[in-house]
């Protein structure tokens, strides 16, 4: 690392700058989410009111049986599946297999969209149950504020990811990356690294969900 950084050329050898910048953005995003999660940890430690039991708050009744965290488990599996299709899309992108990359990117985007849909459903259900950022019928008031802040921020990330995935998917489809055509907004030449860069963002969204799932829903 020291020799790379002191080499007087470029520090990130072999890494396209778009990818390096995405990594640095993700690092800053890590800090944002970490601050949210640490803040959540702190309000949960300091409150004197009992913390609501996530397993029962997020339980759904399916076929007459109350299953704890049913929707959350489905959302987790959907996001992991989308991460897998994304990884494959990056691989086929570098192989310049336009059709496979397009299909895999679109599957990823659709899975992401269904995730956002389920999250909207979950929010509606909780709001119906009387959960608000300032109070809720299950226990500590901080539960609502942490929940809406953290899952809302994560859901926003997923939604933005879906938009970017769709854009890149259509760029792949019409061959903009293959021919190095400049983009409409930025004028950057299309390259297949773009698929990997948007992939990094998408995997990061999945990564954040891993932590939210563990800390918020399971803990």
């Amino acid at each position: 690392m020291v020799s790379d950084w002191s080499s007087d050329q470029q520090a990130f050898k072999g890494v396209p700058w778009g990818k390096a910048m995405m990594w640095i953005f993700l690092l800053s995003d890590t800090f944002i989410f970490a601050c949210f999660l640490v803040g959540y940890m702190k309000v949960r430690i300091t409150t004197t009111a009992p913390w609501p039991d996530a397993s029962s708050v997020f339980a759904l009744t399916a076929f007459g049986v109350k299953v704890p965290l049913l929707l959350i488990a489905i959302m987790t599996f959907i996001l992991i599946s989308s991460s897998g299709t994304m990884a494959l899309a990056v691989k086929y992108g570098y192989q310049k297999d336009r059709n496979k990359t397009f299909v895999l990117l679109m599957i990823t985007a659709l899975l992401g969209l269904s995730f956002v849909g389920m999250q909207a459903f979950e929010w509606m259900k909780l709001i119906e149950d009387g959960v608000r950022p300032w109070e809720n019928p299950f226990g500590a008031a901080q539960f609502g504020s942490s929940f809406f802040l953290i899952t809302g921020f994560h859901g926003t990330h997923v939604s933005i990811g879906v938009i970017f995935l769709t854009i890149i998917a259509f760029k792949v489809k019409r061959g903009s990356l293959e021919d190095g055509r400049p983009g409409f907004l930025t004028g950057r030449k299309g390259r297949y690294e773009m698929v990997e860069t948007v992939g990094l963002y998408w995997h990061f969204v999945d990564l954040v969900w891993v932590f939210i799932f563990a800390f918020f829903y399971l803990w």
Partner: protein
Amino acid sequence: MADATTQQHPLRTYFVVWGALFILSVFSYLVDVSPLEGFAKWSLITLFMLLKAGLIVSIFMHMVWERSSIALPILLPTGVLLFLMLLMLLEGDYIHSTRLAFFGS
């Protein structure tokens, strides 16, 4: 160098990691529905969480194949967050005890 710019790895690697992520998720869900409580539950949840995070970052985000000049600047600063967590943990305990002392219940 060539493999750093175009990441090419066998399909098998991705499918194995994908499967592992599914299995780990099932495990962490099972921990939640199981009667495990306290330290056993927390440590298992954290273990599965860290394993999943590690797999995603190292394989799906190709971190194991990157040079250390990009991997370390990204991974090391996150360690600072652990320190923040530790500080807030100590502070939180103190605030909690103060609240109990002054507000009761």
